[in-house]
């Protein structure tokens, strides 16, 4: 099966404060890259995320990440293998955890599954309540994250 190029999937919940950062990054990338890369903003988790990647050579995920002790706004580049070795729990909506979902879809749809998955996590503090807008620390990470992903897309 001939796969399409790259898909960037921004994940998050727009009414959960900093959890929305993946969506904001995706939106900014869409503005800058236009139709050059397929960019999706997804308020979902698990199986839906894994299904969205099908048919692409490379999938880039951007999501909020909670890492114990980490300063909010830190950008981490992870591969799928990193997730398996040191499970980082993504927050946002999940109908099944991401690792299981990816393993499942990969097992079933091997031919159309991406050859490469890269995950960009932006560290946040655990959101306390429903609210709109990002904290200043997390906002400052956005231009850098956008720049890194643009480079990742041109690799």
């Amino acid at each position: 099966m001939k796969k399409k190029g790259i898909i960037v999937i921004g994940l998050g919940n727009p009414i959960l404060g900093d959890d929305a950062v993946g969506l904001v990054v995706a939106s900014e990338l869409k503005r800058r890259l236009g139709n050059l890369v397929n960019i999706v903003e997804l308020c979902a988790g698990g199986l839906t995320v894994a299904e969205t990647m099908l048919g692409y050579r490379k999938a880039i995920l951007v999501d909020a990440l909670i890492e114990e002790g980490a300063v909010p706004g830190k950008i981490l580049r992870l591969t799928f293998e990193d997730l398996k070795v040191t499970p980082k729990r993504f927050i946002g909506f999940h109908d099944m955890d991401l690792v299981t979902s990816i393993e499942l879809i990969k097992a079933i749809e091997k031919e159309s599954f991406p050859d490469e998955i890269v995950i960009f996590g932006i560290t946040i503090q655990k959101p306390g309540c429903y609210q709109e807008g990002l904290s200043e620390c997390v906002k400052t990470a956005i231009p850098k994250c956008v720049e890194i992903i643009e480079k990742e897309c041109s690799l």
Binding site: I15, G45, E51, I91, G92, H94, E109, G128
Partner: protein
């Protein structure tokens, strides 16, 4: 002697919950609780917003059932404005909602229910999941499930622009009409979904119903409660997920009451306990008698089992045939908690048949798809059957349509007492003399997994996959077994 056992992973439930089991001196179960230990009030977030925003905001409470909140919310906003929808709009909404049912119910069946039966309730924990299931039933079946979800996703996108966080329903109708090309595509997709639903029902029948051990498990006393049931029925008394009146039946299956959604507060009360954030709804006329079943208790259950128990049947032929078999084996009302799984696969078939039926309805491509909102807004209630059970949205606004009060009662909350009872009963019957093993603990988990609780919805809490801990304490209150998910 203190013994702590940590078993990982538990990977199949959304939300944040804790099961605490307390043993007596002989090692038998004295008590068990299902607790929800996190709360992030959603209602407060909504106050002060224009009510029209609610059908877009509320789906973000939960990534598992966004369409249920979308539809309940849209119906509540319609009611706030006193809008009477054109038939085309109603039918498009119902069609979209039935497609969502197939998408959601099939994921729940294959990811949550089937591993317990196909892989086995006492299989090693690491294998008792959807990956283990695929290993057992083969990749081809896995492909069928994913393909069916893809078909459903595409159809939802056709109707709503996007499958997740929908924009299909708007106050007074739907966002766009259907073209003839759209209709044809939906009809073709619906045929595939009917085939897939029949395939799924056959898997259930082959794996579960033809296995006496599983039938005994389903029908046994471990997973049985004689409660009241609640669900929406249409004007003929048949199952309807999108619209209708609320019917309640008693533990003998007799109609106890029927009411219009706007009158729900006359019938449903909410009890609060200090040890959990999740409230306990009950039937007001019977009162709160505690977490107990029986005819004098106000506890009721909702969801697939509740719907099949309250309704007189299904409006579609294949689902009706399957329902007759369900009744013949489990009785009516069916009190077997594990019957939720069977009811769920019958509903997948019903939803697929209904989508096909609606796709051929001449009204579905009508051009009258929205009415203007001309009345002064005030108060409205919208009720749908979410896949997990009755979902109530109740809004009050000022005369400018700004929200002043919001109340949501979701399926997992309705089922709270039922889940607690199920966990306690299963624990009491399965744990004897302090002997606990992984298989037994899974069978206790099965008691609540049947309800497919969604705690993101239940507490309107921080959504996402959260820890579910199972803790067993001895007679001295010492923790002897602990199971955590990563």
């Amino acid at each position: 002697m203190k013994k702590v056992v940590t078993i990982q992973p538990i990977t199949r439930l959304e939300g944040h919950g804790k099961i605490s089991i307390f043993l007596d001196e002989t090692g038998n179960v004295k008590d068990a609780y299902y607790q929800v230990v996190e709360f992030r009030g959603f209602e407060r977030f909504c106050i002060g917003r224009p009510v029209e925003e609610m059908p877009i905001i509320t789906p973000r409470i939960c990534g598992v059932c966004p369409w249920a909140h979308h539809m309940a919310s849209a119906k509540a906003v319609d009611a706030v404005y006193g809008a009477e929808l054109p038939k085309t709009a109603k039918k498009i909404r119902e069609m979209a909602y039935n497609i969502f049912y197939i998408h959601d119910h099939s994921a729940v069946f294959y990811a949550l229910s089937a591993p317990d039966f196909v892989v086995g309730p006492d299989a090693p924990r690491a294998e008792r999941n959807i990956l283990g299931l695929i290993g057992k039933i083969g990749l081809e079946t896995g492909k069928k499930v994913i393909n069916a979800r893809m078909v459903a996703t595409k159809l939802l996108e056709k109707l709503a622009g996007r499958a997740i966080i929908p924009t299909c329903a708007v106050p007074g109708g739907v966002s766009k009409p259907l073209t003839e090309d759209d209709r044809k595509e939906i009809e073709e997709g619906a045929k595939k979904l009917v085939d897939f639903s029949q395939f799924t029902l056959k898997i259930f029948e082959d794996v579960v119903l033809k296995n006496q051990k599983y039938l005994d498990l389903i029908m046994g006393d471990v997973y049985k409660h004689e409660t009241y049931y609640m669900g929406l029925v249409d004007e003929k008394g048949l199952v309807n997920y999108y619209d209708g009146k609320v019917r309640v039946v008693d533990p003998k299956g007799r109609i106890y009451t029927e009411f219009h959604p706007k009158d729900y507060l006359n019938h449903i009360g909410e009890h609060v306990e200090t040890w959990t954030y999740l409230k306990f709804p009950y039937l007001k006329s019977l009162g709160w008698k505690g977490i107990v079943d029986g005819e004098t208790s106000g506890v009721y259950r909702v969801g697939p089992l509740g719907r099949l128990n309250v309704a007189d049947g299904f409006a579609t032929p294949l689902a009706q045939e399957a329902y007759e078999k369900f009744k013949e084996i489990l009785g009516k009302p069916a009190h077997a908690t594990l019957g939720y799984h069977w009811a769920r696969v019958i509903e997948i078939l019903n939803a697929a048949e209904r989508v096909l039926e609606l796709s051929k309805d001449p009204d579905i491509t009508g051009k009258d798809f929205r009415v203007p909102l001309t009345n002064t807004p005030s108060e409205g209630v919208g009720i749908v059957e979410a896949p997990r059970g009755t979902l109530i949205h109740h809004y009050k606004t000022d005369q400018n349509g700004i929200l002043t009060d919001v109340n949501l009662i979701v399926a997992t909350t309705h089922n709270n007492a039922g889940i607690c009872m199920s966990v306690k009963k299963a624990s009491q019957q399965l744990i004897r003399g302090g002997n606990v093993n992984d298989g037994l603990l899974n069978m206790i988990e099965m008691a609540f997994r049947a309800y497919d609780p969604c705690l993101a919805c239940g507490t309107h809490a921080l959504p996402g996959q959260m820890p579910l801990d199972v803790c067993i304490y001895d007679a001295n209150g010492r923790l002897v077994v602990e199971i955590k998910r990563p």
